[in-house]
């Protein structure tokens, strides 16, 4: 079953066309990468999926239903969970309280990841359960942001630049966790500027360039296409 289908999505910000006819899809159980240079529209796309920004036209079909007109909170309650850029932990609440807030999105849907699951995945969160989250390191905050989204029972997890500002060692830990989650069946759409990491972790990938999809295909194929990497990602 297809978890997410985007058809011809257009988004404008104050006259600037940020997305110009994007189409992509994510199948159930897949981990898909969306890569592209700074300003290509990657975060805009995720924000449009969670309805934080309004789309101008196009379809976003999540598990068979178009999310048009739904409030951001309603989108996340339906199981489409967005871990935003910069983590956005609830800084003056404790780790435990952040995870409890994460439960709200699950509502009455059945538990997919229990608190024990999350602690098992990121043991540091259990060690620091009573610490005020604003005082955690960047990597710990990223783990908390992911763990919090897992508490919400995601059918699709949107991740925006999880490696941003993290040391390579911590980035490894985060990506290992993501791979493990995907292996357990979690569907993920991963936005990354760090193309090599993203392509190594995923099976399929899209390249976004100035608001349009310029390439799509298997991640391994893309990783070997030096021309595409160089011209679109400047990496």
């Amino acid at each position: 079953m297809t978890t997410l289908t985007i058809n011809d999505l257009h988004v404008s910000y104050g006259g600037v066309k940020a997305l110009r006819g994007v189409s992509l899809r994510v199948e159930e159980g897949e981990m898909v990468a969306l890569i592209g240079s700074n300003g290509a529209g990657k975060s805009t796309l995720l924000n449009a999926l969670s309805n934080v920004v309004k789309r101008k036209s196009g379809e976003v079909i999540f598990e068979g239903t178009d999310t048009r007109g739904m409030s951001p909170y309603a989108v996340s309650r339906s199981g489409l969970l967005h871990v935003p850029e910069g983590r956005q932990v609830l800084s003056d609440m404790s780790v435990y309280e952040n995870l409890q807030v994460g439960l709200i999105a699950r509502g009455k849907r059945k538990t997919i990841y229990s608190l024990d699951h999350v602690y098992e995945l990121f043991p540091v969160l259990e060690e620091r359960r009573d610490q005020i989250s604003g005082t955690l390191s960047g990597g710990q905050q990223q783990m908390l942001a992911i763990g919090r989204a897992l508490m919400g029972g995601p059918h699709l997890l949107l991740l925006d630049e999880p490696s941003l500002g993290l040391s390579p060692l911590i980035t490894d830990q985060v990506f290992d966790a993501l791979k493990k989650l995907n292996a357990e069946g979690l569907t993920v759409l991963l936005v990354e500027q760090n193309a090599h990491r993203a392509l190594e972790a995923t099976s399929r990938a899209y390249v976004l360039d100035r608001g349009q999809i310029s390439f799509e295909g298997a991640s391994s194929e893309l990783a070997g296409n030096k021309a595409v990497i160089d011209s679109y990602l400047g990496a």
Binding site: Y73, R77, H82, S91, D92, M93, I104, G107, R148, A149
Partner: protein, 296 residues
């Protein structure tokens, strides 16, 4: 006399706490100053007064008044804040529109009361005094202290330990992140306004009863004190607001008792500046809370 004055101050301060908590809550969640809070407080006293004189038992009058002021506060949110919030950058316009709501409510009260000072009929609450270790304390003062203590404890429990309360704090910290986690900010706003309004309404009833005076302008001095409390306590901090309220009450009592009169306000604001010099974020405002507040 010192202990008696401290008691007087604690009783007044506990009612300031009730008043200021709602104001702080709205500021904490929305980063907006609700100038109509004083009028909501006044409305609470008025509604309970008119219920009482039309024969409703006093306890029911209080309940009805809290319900009504809760709804008034929700109306304030819908009328004065919601549309402005949608267009963003609402601080200043919301300030002005809440002053507008305040003026409307005050004018209505003035018309209704014919500019007269009202008071609950004698015997609405039994006047009884106890002498405890040389302290003269009335039954009403005891009831007020107990009521405020219970409500404050309940509010803190609600904010810290319940799912609803966590949603309120999540919106206060980071509204967008909260929305991505499934928190319905609009419903949080309505809840906080309802709670703030009901607490203000109750504070109005208690003040009206304690000091035998219900008047259309009664909210103004309390608004002024709420500003002091919110700033000293740390913007948006609930514990800070409670402690600052009690401190303010006691400081006021003691300045009246021991210093030249007419200086009370000057001294209170002198204290305010002193606190801000030493702790610019207030006594209990921590950097995180402020950073969370400005991130929106």
């Amino acid at each position: 006399m010192l202990t008696q004055q401290i008691l007087n101050g604690l009783v007044s301060g506990s009612v300031y706490a009730l008043f200021s908590l709602g104001f702080t809550l709205i500021f904490g969640v929305q980063k907006l100053l609700n100038f109509a809070h004083g009028a909501t407080f006044m409305a609470g006293a008025f509604i309970a007064y008119y219920c009482t004189i039309s024969g409703l038992p006093f306890v029911m009058a209080i309940g009805f008044s809290m319900l009504a002021t809760g709804l008034i506060a929700i109306l304030i949110d819908l009328i004065a804040f919601r549309t402005l919030r949608k267009r963003g950058n609402a601080e200043f316009p919301a300030l002005v529109s809440s002053i507008g709501v305040d003026l409307i409510l005050v004018s209505i009260a003035q018309q209704v009361s014919n500019t007269q000072v009202l008071n609950f009929p004698f015997g609405t609450f039994p006047i009884q005094f106890y002498d405890i270790f040389g302290l003269r304390i009335s039954l009403l003062q005891i009831v007020i202290l107990a009521t405020v203590a219970v409500l404050v404890a309940a509010l803190i429990f609600y904010l810290k330990k319940t799912t609803f309360g966590r949603q309120v704090r999540a919106v206060a910290t980071n509204e967008r992140a909260a929305a991505l986690l499934g928190v319905n900010a609009q419903s949080v706003y309505l809840q906080t306004f309802f709670i703030a309004g009901a607490l203000a309404g109750l504070a109005g009833v208690l003040i009206g009863l304690l000091f035998n005076s219900i008047q259309f302008l009664m909210g103004e001095p309390y608004m002024l004190r709420a500003f002091v409390v919110v700033v000293i306590g740390g913007l948006g901090s609930v514990q800070g607001a409670i402690i600052a309220s009690l401190m303010l009450g006691v400081a006021q009592s003691l300045t009246v008792a021991y210093l030249p009169s007419g200086l009370t306000d000057a001294i209170i604001f002198g204290l305010l500046f002193l606190v801000l010099l030493v702790r610019p974020n207030g006594l209990f405002g921590d950097i995180n809370a402020v950073a969370g507040g400005t991130r929106q």
